[in-house]
């Protein structure tokens, strides 16, 4: 510690100054937020420094989603600052989203002064009570001297073990009062010590199982992304060394290069035919940083019935939660993959090459069904075609994609191909409509020169479109690519397939003119009505150095396939070409599974 720092540490500072200083010490460069009465002292402290940039969103949910986009695309924690009461409650959706998808977020919320807590004061809400189930941990700070320690602890908890959102609730008087700063080095959390190194015996067992496998598959999720780019490289090395196929979850896209022939695409409800059938028929499954979500497994009692499963996860509660596994390994994906790779190489085993060839032959048979094929005939743009062209016209760039939630999200997961981690930001676990635009803003803030596209549906976009003003204010050249079918497409699809085509409240009436809307926000509005305009609009969108809304008018009644209907197993997929003739027979129990 230098002399001036030491001097600072002893000088009593206001709580707000302590908070800002702790953020700086934690390496925070950007805070996404919205001011209000309870956080005015913190905003005042932010005003008087130049290390941290504040991005003013237009609604607090947007602040958390923007921080999520920032975090996912950089691997660093996203930081949010909102006021008490409605500021905090508006942030709840984003916090829940970050909890479900394991995104490190530190959210500072204002609170009424300590002596007013519990008195139903103006803009008071029980923020720690409300956010307890939707954060990894939260704190209400009651003394200014505790502030620095809690901020440092919060960053530690948010980023260690399975990452997640944390909330620090900051009463106004605690921010105004004077107190002492404490440097991060002296702060060790008293009890939270997540295990990162896998049990060597289990790792050896896993490698033996894999070496003896005839039909193995890797199933990798967001945990690999969270572990860092090195984990994705190690996964790629291990998969290539073994020769087995790999599928990624929605959250895991980019953890393995999509152009690699061993990659089977995404699995699950809207996953590829080959990925789901390979999961169903494998004899050994290696789950890495994935949590056997219901959208992945389909009907649990029919999920991959004949395989022995290895599960690598940093969160012990993810193991044996939905699916019993033979070899559980608690640890960080990167660390365990490194150990497995070392052991695999030491073993010098090639595995059963004949069995591997037969396995690939079987998989190639499934691949030949070409499950993502669609027919682009006539002038009306097929949504799949719009996204496929978007991919093809952007593939030469190191582009970042966010999505909203619905059909367009699944098509984006199917037709965009990711070669690297941290390029794909989507709301997986919570399925939050309105996520994509603010997330794209967070990504663009972190990567100002990059091409950042929000693949959107018109319904989702309307949920947080106020953030166009944020993008405009900071001159962020985000591209909003609206796959506009004038329906809540996924709702409409389920109503068609499962509820007798009774389209209850899923039509998007009274849509705005998106081109004029763009112009009113100082953005560029583009529209494609027919397939011959599509490429030119995408090219213009990419070439425009400003905020763009591209309104892509697509076929209204297109359904997203392949699809595993609710309550069905992996082998019971509906494919696109058979869709109209093959209406699934779904039981009430299946319907309830959603």
């Amino acid at each position: 510690m230098s002399e001036s720092q030491q001097h600072d540490a002893e000088r009593p500072m206001s709580g707000a100054e302590i908070i800002v200083r702790a953020l700086i010490e934690q390496g925070v460069e950007v805070v996404f937020g919205y001011p209000g009465g309870a956080v005015l002292p913190i905003y005042d402290a932010l005003f008087q420094q130049n290390s941290i940039r504040h991005i003013l969103v237009r609604q607090e949910a947007g602040a958390v989603h923007a921080a999520e986009g920032y975090a996912r695309s950089t691997g660093r924690p996203g930081v949010v600052l909102v006021t008490s009461g409605p500021g905090a409650t508006n942030a709840v959706t984003g916090l829940t989203d970050a909890l479900m998808d394991s995104i490190p977020i530190v959210c500072l919320t204002g609170q009424v002064a300590t002596h007013m807590i519990g008195n139903d004061a103006f803009q008071e809400a029980d923020t720690v009570g409300i956010t307890r189930p939707c954060t990894k941990h939260n704190w209400l700070v009651k003394s200014t001297d505790d502030l620095a320690r809690v901020v440092h602890e919060a960053f530690y908890v948010a980023t260690h073990g399975r990452p997640g959102p944390v909330v620090i609730d900051l009463p106004k008087d605690v921010c105004i009062n004077k107190g002492r700063y404490q440097a991060a080095g002296g702060v060790a959390h008293p009890s939270y010590r997540p295990r990162t190194k896998g049990d060597p015996a289990r790792v050896a067992e896993a490698v033996e199982l894999l070496a003896g496998a005839k039909r193995a598959i890797f199933y990798a999720g967001g945990g690999v992304i969270n572990s860092g780019p090195q984990a994705a490289e190690l996964l790629t090395e291990l998969v290539r060394a073994t020769g087995f196929p790999i599928t990624n979850t929605l959250m895991g896209l980019g953890a393995y290069p999509a152009s690699d022939p061993q990659f089977l695409g995404m699995l699950g409800m809207h996953g590829t035919y080959e990925a789901n059938l390979a999961m169903h028929n494998c004899d050994v499954m290696v789950a890495v940083g994935a949590r056997f979500d219901d959208r992945v497994t389909g009907r649990l009692d029919a999920f991959s019935p004949n395989s022995r499963k290895i599960h690598i996860d940093i969160d012990p509660s993810s193991i044996n939660k939905n699916v019993p596994v033979a070899v559980p390994i608690v640890g960080d994906a990167g660390s365990v993959l490194q150990d497995m790779l070392t052991l695999w190489r030491q073993r010098g085993s090639q595995g059963d090459r004949a069995a591997l060839a037969a396995w690939w032959q079987q998989i190639d048979g499934w691949r030949n069904r070409n499950c993502l094929a669609y027919r682009q005939d006539g002038k009306v743009i097929k949504p799949q075609h719009a996204i496929k062209r978007l991919y093809e016209l952007t593939r030469a760039r190191d582009a970042y994609f966010t999505t909203e939630v619905g059909q367009h999200q699944m098509w984006a997961a199917q037709y965009l191909k990711f070669e690297r981690p941290n390029r794909w930001m989507t709301s997986g676990g919570l399925g939050t409509m309105g996520y994509g635009l603010p997330a794209a803003i967070g990504v663009q803030i972190a990567h100002p020169e990059a091409l950042v596209v929000d693949v959107a549906g018109e319904a989702s976009f309307l949920m947080n479109m106020q953030e166009l003003a944020t993008a405009r204010q900071y001159r962020l050249p985000v591209k909003v690519f609206i796959v506009n079918n004038q329906w809540m497409g996924m709702v409409r699809q389920w109503q068609e397939l499962l509820h007798g085509s009774r389209y209850s409240e899923s039509y998007m009436d009274s849509l705005p003119d998106f081109v004029k809307l763009a112009e009113s926000f100082g953005a560029v509005g583009l529209r494609a009505d027919s397939v011959d305009q599509l490429d030119a609009v995408i090219a213009e969108m990419i070439a425009t150095p400003n905020l763009v809304i591209a309104d892509i008018r697509v076929e209204q009644r297109e359904n997203c396939f392949p699809m595993i209907p609710s309550g069905r197993a992996h082998y019971e997929m509906i494919l696109g070409d058979g869709a109209s003739a093959d209406t699934p027979d779904v039981t009430d129990a299946g319907l309830a599974l959603v």
Partner: protein, 168 residues
């Protein structure tokens, strides 16, 4: 999947900080786990640690989940499944009020003696008995008091500790 329900007594050592009990209870209610009994109090001299004893029921898979979910709460130091880890002692205390006169009143006192319950309050028409023991013992005592004028029951919930020299 086994649907066999098991009862487990789980000890949890936590930081004694505001909201920690709400976190534990919220975990059980939020994930649909059962709580049969729950006790909590500070247990070290400086008041930094509290020990929670929770009795719960579930399938073996659910019990494993409960332990893993508890262990991942940030203020939780240790989770020990006393039922799974070997012999342990479980005790509960109850205060039980019985009102009545005549033969029933005498009989209640006689049974209390057999159960080694103490009368901690008495009037000419009532007793308050203090009784310590296993859940089953207290259940049995309550059942016997039912026809003898039982009017009020207060139970602490189970506290439990492993037998032998090893500490948690």
């Amino acid at each position: 999947m086994s649907e066999r329900q098991e009862r487990h007594t789980i000890a949890v050592l936590v930081d004694n900080e505001p909201g920690v009990l709400a976190r534990v209870i919220g975990l059980f209610s939020g994930r649909g786990y059962n709580i049969e009994s729950l006790t909590v109090a500070a247990v070290d001299a400086t008041g930094q640690l509290s020990r929670i004893t929770v009795v719960t029921t579930g399938t073996p898979m659910v019990i494993e989940q409960i332990k893993a979910q508890l262990d991942r709460l940030v203020p939780v130091h240790r989770v020990v499944d006393l039922t799974a880890e070997g012999p342990h002692v479980e005790r509960e205390m109850a205060l039980i009020k019985v009102t009545g006169r005549g033969e029933a009143r005498i009989e209640s006192l006689r049974i209390a003696d057999i159960f080694r319950a103490r009368a901690v309050d008495s009037t000419t028409e009532s007793f308050v008995f203090e009784l310590t023991g296993s859940i089953e013992k207290i259940d049995a005592f309550i059942a016997l008091m039912q026809p003898l004028g039982l009017t009020d029951i207060c139970r602490t919930g189970v506290v439990a500790i492993a037998r032998g020299p090893a500490a948690m």
